[in-house]
């Protein structure tokens, strides 16, 4: 494929990203729904406004991320792109969220600064079972990819003539996505607090849980693409189910752990 063709296809994906941005552009109803999903019953207008700004930060990068990632995918994968579209969508959402979390780490600069005396840890935002599930899926993907690179027959995916490059790609996706998600969860823990404690905690919980859920979906879809066939479809479907389960609405915000 020529460079001009690559750019053209990437531009089409960027337009898709722009369309998605327009469709998903958040307003007050989306902000209110987000806060109710994450444990804030009856949010006030300022809390809703904060939630809307949070969503906008995450989605603004979609068009150019689609452009960049599809360009890279075309360049790296070439014609071997089974299931690449789903992977592209998931990776774009993941990286868009990562960028937004990193930008949110900018320290407070105003004259007056507030802080909560509650200690924040990743396990205050994400339940242990979700972290364990993510860890298991990551381990499985890494083992499969490593065995594929080593030429182990059962790990060669389906069809059996999967190239080593596909196994290397799976390994890279596993490792790089793990790094990205670890950064996202850490950023969700560490970012400066909002003055409104309810929306502050709700958005941290959402960021961390969506990151873990997305990671499970990215890994399982990558394994599904690698393996292809019926097994690949089942793995991918299980991953999407896990994502929905991890990011299911919560009834109340988690209580802080205060005692020794």
């Amino acid at each position: 494929m020529s460079f001009a063709d690559l750019l053209g296809l990437a531009a089409v994906m960027a337009l898709f990203g722009l369309l998605l941005l327009a469709l998903l552009w958040p307003g007050e109803p989306q902000g209110r729904r987000l806060l109710r999903t994450w444990g804030v019953a009856e949010p006030d207008p300022q809390e809703i406004s904060t939630a809307v700004a949070y969503l906008k930060r995450r989605r603004l990068a979609y068009p150019w991320l689609y452009f960049l990632l599809s360009f890279l995918a075309q360049t790296v994968l070439g014609n071997d792109q089974d299931g690449a579209f789903l992977g592209l969508v998931l990776l774009t959402v993941l990286l868009g969220s990562l960028l937004a979390e990193l930008l949110a780490l900018r320290p407070a600069r105003g004259r007056t600064r507030e802080a909560s005396l509650d200690t924040r840890r990743p396990t205050d935002l994400v339940p242990y079972w979700a972290l364990a599930l993510d860890g298991c899926v990551l381990l499985g993907a890494v083992v499969l990819a490593t065995a594929g690179v080593a030429g182990v027959q059962w790990a060669r995916g389906a069809p059996q003539d999967r190239t080593t490059a596909a196994a290397v790609t799976l390994l890279l996706v596993a490792v790089l996505s793990a790094v990205a998600v670890a950064l996202m969860v850490l950023a969700a823990v560490r970012r400066p607090p909002d003055r409104r404690p309810r929306v502050d905690l709700a958005l941290r919980v959402r960021s961390a849980r969506v990151a873990i859920g997305l990671h499970v979906a990215v890994l399982t879809s990558a394994v599904g693409v690698y393996h292809s066939g019926v097994i690949g479809l089942i793995i991918g479907a299980l991953g999407i189910t896990a994502w929905v389960w991890i990011t299911a609405p919560i009834r109340a915000l988690p209580a802080p752990t205060r005692a020794v």
Partner: protein, 128 residues
């Protein structure tokens, strides 16, 4: 209940004193019970955008006064014997905050003292 402290970086009162004073007030009012673990110095300094040394000093002063103790593996924890305020220390902290505010308003010591005396002269509000 969310336990929050607020630092005004332009108040004239050093940030570590503000952190120290507010934590002492929360302890004496019972909002921070014995055994409560304060956030790590790094977390509080990041959240308040202060140097870690500033928050570390506040924690050091709290520990020196017996309000908190540091336990390996548990961080900085509100002490069992905390909650017995030293009236003179409380008065000193209140005075420091008042002086910082008075300076902000451009008042000299005489005007500030007049304001204090006028406040003392006002009848105390009754219950209800």
């Amino acid at each position: 209940m969310s336990l929050r402290i607020v630092v005004d970086t332009a108040s004239g009162l050093s940030p570590w004193r503000q952190v120290h004073g507010q934590i002492v007030r929360l302890i004496t009012r019972g909002a921070l019970a014995a055994g409560f673990r304060l956030p790590p110095i790094r977390q509080l300094s990041r959240d308040l955008a202060l140097a870690t040394g500033t928050v570390a000093r506040a924690y050091r002063e709290l520990e020196a006064a017996g309000w908190v103790y540091t336990a390996r593996g548990h961080g900085t924890v509100v002490a069992e014997t905390a909650g017995t305020p030293d009236p003179d220390a409380e008065l000193r902290m209140a005075a420091e905050e008042f002086v910082a505010r008075a300076r902000e308003l451009g008042a000299d010591p005489e005007r500030a003292a007049d304001a204090v005396l006028a406040a003392f002269a006002e009848p105390r509000p009754g219950p209800g």
